[in-house]
Symmetry: D2
Subunit: 281 residues, 4 copies
């Protein structure tokens, strides 16, 4: 399979939100089957109560996936680095209580085994898209991988990185655009929706959008999420927090509960206009 | 009026596609009144017949604005530079025949007077966003100005450039995002929809999107146009050509007539989902 | 003449600081004849006394060119915009007193005539590199033009911009690299010395470096100036101010008198190691 | 120790090439003691004979360090990925024969132990600068680490990445600028010498330059190397190959033997003009 040919794009094509050919099975749902899959949750897991509160709210409004960092190797080693292994039990309980599919970031090939029991989707963050040793190892795993685009990776490099996983025999790869680094300073990153449309036209892999990191500004998350849906993306990953102003990391980009439920209502409307719907069980 | 304050964006806000406070009157319509205004046409005017054919088609499908370059000072001085003054008469005839509002690029303060009779909106291209001598002169004019964002201008610089016009007393300024320059090479530019959402939240000026230059790839123009509508942009400028493969400039990014009419149909649907509609007379 | 071919660079070449084939005559000196030409002065002219004080100092230490802005169309229209025509007389007097060659920025084709009497070299700033109407007009002039690289222009676009001047019959073009815009925020721009080495290998035009704008930080100006000399650049343009902390514009990047004289001493030493010398009369 | 404070740079400072306070001991030499340390070698090790031929030549002309990739996890998983463990013996023999200090890239924390016997300096490549799991592990090692700047990392992020190593107790960190990613397409990367001057002024760590990756064009390597020396960098890493046109990777940026010996001669001259010399035993 050649996922990397980026050419011949001048010709007329069918609508961008056609069903991709490699949907990824997540529990009883399929990401990339033409419907729109929503993943939400806190930047990092702060406590079991906190995680359960968020999970309950997002499930009620239609999300199927739960995100939440456990080991945060952040740029500055002196800042909050996540709960680490203390988060494992919280995740187990919240998954049992809600049935949500759990996505969590992995940064070291040696974590794969320890995460295996309770992580449903291994997430490779933007800073590790070029960590080919990690990608190669994830090619050996029998669980889906969410591969975020490096914030300075070309679309071609992103697709080539996915081949490190695919070549190992793991076909369950989901791409995620999360903003690129440009000269602009008024937003944290520049969400590159061109790349999403391009991937939809040139690759068989499903692709979702993370407008929380892609903008870094909570007031911009809803408009960019609606844009992603109209564009034909296969889903969304957004940060939600009950009190963003007191979040331990990335509060400025998290949606409140009210903002999230308003977003889900709007998403349903825009998807309907495109003859699509939210993914459901 | 302070259009330049970019701050306090973390707080909850009303939906992005609220009515802006400075809509710009264009004939009997208003760009920025909550409806969605579509401008279309060829990259450069090739002949009167050619312009009339395009104008008739786009009008029939709901566009109110006609674009078309006359003087193309392109990067390479050895390539086609437009019809120049020979295009004036063609424009006059096509405007009379269709009633469309005509947008055309100006690159030299000495052109203002000569253009005055038949240009309805002076367009400042990306390469001239920093041409403050030109902007200052356009502040003295009593016609609207479409100010494209420089392809490496920050949002703050873009809004400051608009002040060169506003300070002269001309309040009829329309902003246009047309893609920024990044490291990515598989698209001509990177359309920055973050900037559009940001402008909607921080400025009173209307803002439209040009996905033809913003992607450079015709197959990406429709998905990005729908994204712009869902995001809350005030309109769209797209390139349309009866035979893109034989266009004298920028054919790779022009929509065919069929692609344009399909786009307009989809736009109506997405706008409806957001309680909006195409601007009409 | 084809100045734009950028190819075949893998092959061994003679040392980069070979004599270029199009040196530009400036008074009795020639910029681009293998020697190293230094232009210095304030960002903007603040008064005749101020200009004379700077000019006297830089001449004493070996500079042949004097820079100084008169009309500063800065990004924010609400900041200091230069003395304007009041600076004309100051320039005339200081030129008579010192014999320095005067470089000043032009931003509008309508200024050409008024500047003709006392400007020795028309300088096109980074924001106007794509202002092809202006460049075309400067092709008609019989005075040298210093063409700064646009801060987001590729080397190819920069050389193509020079052709707008060359095609008009004006062969006296000097290129100037002044920093490009990147994601980096700790310096104002990123000085791109790759581009200077590339131009030396592929174009017959002389090329100088402006590390004041290229770094925006006075403490970095001296090391980058020495780097430019060792690299084979044809000269330097630097900002000098008697009291940088009270400059009306860009004080953070100006050298003090002491820093400038120390720089000139070091330059002589590095140039000597490369069998070159400062340009002199 | 705070290596990350980037401020107060407007004030006059001593010459940039002052002795840094944290020189790194490499055999009997010290990198960062005011002298200039040269590391050279092939992009990837192709055979023992090949490595010995290069090592003998570079040593004869004054290099003290030998580079050579063994495991090349390149962007495209379908291209040459290095000799892998087969290179170990070759390295041992060439080190014994020449006494050069060997630098080689590590991409996986699980390689540390296997490399320990014959690698003198662990090199972290640009793609792994954000691989904090790897950096943290290298903080536990008692060998020097060469930390290349990520091609889209800010200077601040680069210095913060070094803290992941320093915090573990390993103070022997050498920084290496190797070009950043920009919009420019005529060179592979844009060598950022601003960053080197900035690090010299704000950090106690030594910093070297890699103009082979920083330009990607062999004809530009020599001028940029001389620039780095004049600027005050602590050393250089360059690619050298007996027949660049037949190299298994990155041939376009490798110097021939003749080009390398000419470079070393010129470097001695430029360093002498700055009262410096090549590092020697």
């Amino acid at each position: 399979m050649d996922t990397t040919e980026i050419q011949g794009l001048g010709a007329p094509r069918q609508p961008a939100h056609q069903t991709v050919q490699n949907p990824v099975r997540l529990g009883q749902a399929r990401l990339g089957d033409g419907s729109f899959y929503v993943i939400a949750g806190p930047c990092s897991i702060e406590s079991e109560e906190h995680l359960l509160e968020v999970a309950t709210h997002i499930k009620e409004h239609g999300a199927l996936g739960l995100r939440g960092g456990m080991f945060k190797l952040r740029t500055d080693p002196n800042t909050f680095q996540g709960l680490g292994e203390k988060a494992f039990e919280a995740v187990m309980h919240v998954k049992q209580a809600t049935g949500l599919t759990f996505f969590s970031e992995i940064t070291d090939p040696r974590q794969i085994e320890g995460f295996h029991e309770f992580v449903d989707v291994y997430q490779v963050g933007s800073r590790n898209m070029y960590n080919y040793a990690l990608l190669r190892e994830l090619g050996q795993v029998r669980k889906p991988v969410l591969l975020k685009r490096g914030f300075s990776a070309t679309v071609k490099e992103w697709l080539l990185a996915s081949e490190y996983i695919l070549k190992g025999g793991n076909n369950a790869v989901i791409l995620c655009e999360r903003g690129i680094r440009t000269f602009e300073t008024s937003t944290r990153n520049t969400l590159d929706l061109n790349s999403v449309a391009l991937v939809k036209q040139t690759s068989q892999l499903p692709v979702i959008v993370d407008p929380s990191h892609g903008t870094g500004v909570s007031a911009l998350v809803t408009p960019l999420s609606l844009a992603a849906a109209a564009l034909g993306a296969d889903g969304l990953m957004v940060e939600v927090h009950p009190q963003p102003e007191s979040a331990k990391s990335d509060g400025a980009q998290a949606l409140t509960f009210d903002q999230f439920s308003w977003l889900m209502k709007q998403l349903r409307s825009v998807l309907g206009a495109c003859n699509r719907e939210l993914t459901h069980l």
